[in-house]
Amino acid sequence: MTATFYSEESANRRNSILLIFVVIAFLAVFGFVIGFSIGYGTGNEVAFGIAALAIAVGIGVIQALFSYYGGDKLVLASSHAREIGPEQAPALYNVVNEMAIAAGVPMPKVYIIDDPSPNAFATGRDPQHSSVAVTTGLLQKMNREELQGVLGHEMSHVRNLDIRFTLFVGVMVGSIALLAGFFLRYTFWFGGGRRGNDRDGGGGGLAIVLLLVGLVMAVLSYFFGALVQMAVSRQREYLADASSVELTRNPHGLESALAKLAADNEPLHSVNGATQHLYIVNPLKKLGGGASLFSTHPPIVDRINRLRQLTGDAPMDPAEMRQLKGLE
């Protein structure tokens, strides 16, 4: 109910729309360049370009609509999550309900992923259409207090609409990478051959320039997408940790949950590049080195230290950190 949460929520609303426009603009430029290159030498380059632009924008719009209405189902299905009711896992269901009440949002759907690696994520387009998923490993390793901390973290992603933005990031960034990959292949397979039997030299130069521009953009957009996906989710994790404590009023639950998550080094099976940023701890690489440019999650030690700042406890000393890593 704090001012920060409302401003987070409206920032996510705004950023979601902005992201869609940026991605569609990217697709439009890409489409045009690809169409122009395909049509090169026919005398109708611009018509080719505009046709491909229309197709690319169409694909972008369909993707945006699809990720808004069905992205959560796609994420849950690709993670092999199954929905549960209050009978199958009463404690989990109850803790989710408690955190939903604390956050003042409707009860999300609850999913379980059969995997011994402890982890959790939330997804959906808004709090009315949201889901939280936890692994069986998490249920086995956490006590009630720690479970509350983890689900408080997930519930704050739901409440401030992080779930919507990250859903768009996953699907849209995935689509850019796909398109860039396609474009690169096209350039290497056909571009070279076409340039070889070119009839007039000046036009060939233009085609090469266009291809180069396209190539550079493809590479740039790929890195840009990856950077947005990662930089954006790191700040989100710190915020969700803080909001979790605001909800549970118990920093120690989440702190000890994070320590347990750090100590566990088993990788999660059903995860890919488009879903890794959704989880509470990075499911691919646990406890990576520093806060590098390409990590989707801040190092757990940093997260624990930020929680300790809230309680006034001393930050982790080297011995504690070694112990944390030694547990791996």
Binding site: M1, N94, N97, A102, G104, R249
Partner: protein, 186 residues
């Protein structure tokens, strides 16, 4: 003609301004009511669960009937306090929370009870209900704080009085230290 237009524009702007503030206050007041409704749902659920728990443990607890009597009485008081305003209700419900804590502390002394599926399930249900009550109260109090603040700040304060918006009461938490359950191990 021009002054008339200027006056008209000013009046329209002022009216829009008042409408904006009024709607903001109504939204906040609805959040408070929603928060209160949430607490009432959880309290009702606790009232409904208690007779089941009392029945389930009654047979085992021959020596400590007084704990059960206290819980049953506290439940009765809490239900009747429901119509006496937030402050009275909060006090009666806190007494019930204390009585339940004593009961759970006593249950710890009976291994047969701790092994009983039915009691365990009721215990989980009551644990989550207790948590839900305290989280619902936390959320409600946050909405009340937000609403009361918005009533007292300028320019809302000019609108709030004439339109009949009044401050809401907090649902006070029990003072933790004051009610450590006394358990008779005799």
């Amino acid at each position: 003609m021009l002054p008339a237009i200027i006056i008209l524009v000013v009046v329209v702007v002022v009216i829009l301004f008042i409408v904006g503030i009024y709607n903001g206050l109504v939204t906040r007041r609805n959040r408070v009511d929603e928060g209160n409704a949430q607490i009432q749902v959880q309290l009702k659920r606790r009232h409904d669960l208690i007779p089941n728990l009392v029945n389930a443990v009654k047979g085992y607890m021959d020596f400590e009937k007084s704990v059960l009597v206290t819980v049953t009485e506290a439940r009765g008081n809490a239900i009747s306090a429901g119509s006496q305003g937030i402050a009275a209700q909060a006090q009666a419900e806190n007494a019930l929370t204390g009585a339940l804590k004593s009961l759970f502390a006593v249950v710890e002394n009976y291994p047969q009870l701790k092994a009983n599926e039915n009691v365990l399930s009721l215990q989980e249900q009551l644990t989550t209900t207790e948590n839900q009550i305290s989280f619902a109260r936390q959320h409600y109090n946050a909405t009340v704080l937000d609403f009361n603040n918005s009533l007292q700040t300028f320019p809302n304060v000019l609108i709030a009085g004439p339109f009949g918006f009044t401050k809401r009461e907090f649902f006070e938490a029990e003072p933790e230290a004051a009610e450590v359950p006394v358990v008779n191990l005799g």
